[in-house]
Amino acid sequence: MRVSEAILQAEGLRKGFPGVQALDGVDLSLRSGEVHVLLGENGAGKSTLIKMLSGAYHPDEGRVLMDGRQVDIRTAGDAQRLGISTIYQEFNLVPELSVAENLSLGRPPRRFGFIDKSAMVRQAGELLARVGVDVDPRMPIARLGIARMQMVEIAKALALNARVLIMDEPTAVLTTSEVDMLFEIVRQLRDQGVAIAFITHHLEEIAAIGDRVTVLRDGRSVAEVPADTSQDELVRLMVGRPIDQQFPRRPAELGEPLLKVSDLSRRGAFDDISFEVRAGEVVGVAGLVGAGRTEVARAIFGADRYDAGEVAVRGRRLPPADVHAAMEAGLGLVPEDRKGQGLVLSADIGENLGLVTMRDATRAGFVDRKGQRRAAAKVADQLAIRMTGLDQEVRTLSGGNQQKVVIGKWLVADAGVLILDEPTRGVDVGAKVEIYQLINALTDSGHAVLMISSDLPEILGMSDRILVMARGRLVGELPAAEATQDGVMALAVTDVEGSRAQ
């Protein structure tokens, strides 16, 4: 490992927003040729910090130095000129344009005033080769998978001659093998002398890729430690107290089957899916991204149609593609895409929590808003949502608290069967454990939970029974007590005979 002097240094950064002090004294030093992990719970200030380094926000106090000289980063252009590139979770790519066009966006190679297409494709090819990704530069971005889009983002940062690369939870959306590929690229860039700030919630990734770790808590940098610090110690630094158990699953007494899925199929998506979930049970669904897990969950809930098979709740068959009927029967879905499908971001917390029960709280067309408010207040309290009040916009909540709101609306409705699709993605350690405890409380009171997750330790730690999907089919079922990560992975990568359902 090459260690050199800091190229980027932040000292005493402070930033306040109305009602909130988001950053309250943060120091950070990035050396060239290191992978520096930024660790902290949601709301600890990581996003604010990187937005400051990339020119989206300007600090109220404190200073930023590049190569020892103070710099003033006011716009994204300033950051770019200084060689700071940021890869956000939401990519900055134009889906309709080709890879090459995206890579040269805003400064395409020109010849006689016209865009020089062949030069553009050639340059793109060189950049893509540097990140070691095999993509045709003429392919439209929209046709790439998420992992490849991310590689294109990295290539774009290289095109700008980035000396500092900030990556905001790059692994959150990737499968295990894609993560390995990403790490390979990150190591390459590090060896080329790029300073990399890497945000992740996966503690096991820290030792694998990181050199040093800066821990943020409540808007302050509380520690800078080597990446081989133990996970327990990192958690303690991050939440300010030790967390005794990462996966506090407490099996409940099993009752009758609440959800029964029989021979569910949709052409091109999933085939012949049958399983049941009993009262008090957590059934985990593992599999690779694209195995059809989300599709099955949405079909069960009536969000999408299916071609054959049936779904029954408490023995009563549900009509297909009817969300309303599914809800009436006691199903609830916490979708994978929290912001896109779970929340009305422009509305406040109370309104979001009451969304599902609004119909039942309506008499003669009028909504009993006081009653709705009371019910929301109770659930917000039960979930310990950190907020200024029920009238706070959900847009301004941290990821963990937003997820609590999505789950909360089904608690207000007292859904008997909850389908949780990636319930802890982008959620910090503290809020994760709170969500797990909530799952315990639900199963204790006789609810059934179907939990899709790509986080294997979570699947193993929180399920009573594990279903594994591959290429649109159920390929295995394991009692959680006997399952191992390797065992589940081996099933998840099975090549199903006849491949995907035709």
Partner: protein, 320 residues
Amino acid sequence: MRSNVLPRRSPAAAWLAENGAVAALVVLVVALSLLSSDFLSLTNLLNVGVQAAVTAILAFGSTFVIVTGGIDLSVGSVAALSAITLAWTATEAGVAWPVAVVVALAVGVAAGLVNASLIAYGKLPPFIATLAMLGIARGLALVISQGSPIPMPDAVSRLGDTIGRYLPVPVIVMVVMGVIAAVILNRTYAGRAMYAIGGNEEAARLSGIKVDRQKLITYGLSGGFAAVAGIVLASRLASAQPQAAAGYELDAIAAVVIGGASLSGGKGRALGTFVGALILAVLRNGLNLLSVSAFWQQVVIGVVIALAVLVDTLRRRGTN
């Protein structure tokens, strides 16, 4: 995170910052009363109210649609069609006037339902569906009337009168429709569903809101409000004119947007829309009093619309 680190603004200042349109209206009224001695007279203010009424009623209907993230370009044409329908059924077809009023309202609602069906079931963008209806409704108004004005029944024309010496009926209708709009938006299931759909249609659907049905209600309401506006306008003129209210849909949208609604949906209030309509009317009235040419008036109003939304955008950027 800690709260309350920033100095608190006084409640009045905070309220004004939240309701920038009201502040703008106040500034406008103060400025005009200084510039023109006629402005603050009761007669003139009531005149402003009458001028605002039709736009405001249309705009209340448009508020529903804009809150859901849609747009309704057909309201001006639908207003004219409804008024023509009323006048034609009452005078040419000889139907009793209360029945004619009901038919006219039904025509407005029906136009809205057609819009909604094209949008919800035909998956047309609202802009296109209502642009088509803009042409269809205007064309039907011309077909029915054969291009000529039709006198309104006397009983209905009283809607354009003044009660006692001072109180113009259009102003009363405007206030009543405004209160109805506010109640629908704030208190009813339909109204709350509009905000949810405009904020995030997919999340609303996955929370059990029947989005298609709610869109029918939304555009139906918009059509119904347009019919009321058309009847009020025709009553003031004592005749229904097939070319009436042409271009009013743009004033209605401007009023909604000046009132603080977002064209991307999820935001908007009846009171804001009311203030937006008043700003437009006060501005036109004031410019007339100051003898500004009608040509320049258009320029000024365009600038005001841009400024209103610009200020709002900047304010939001400041707080985010």
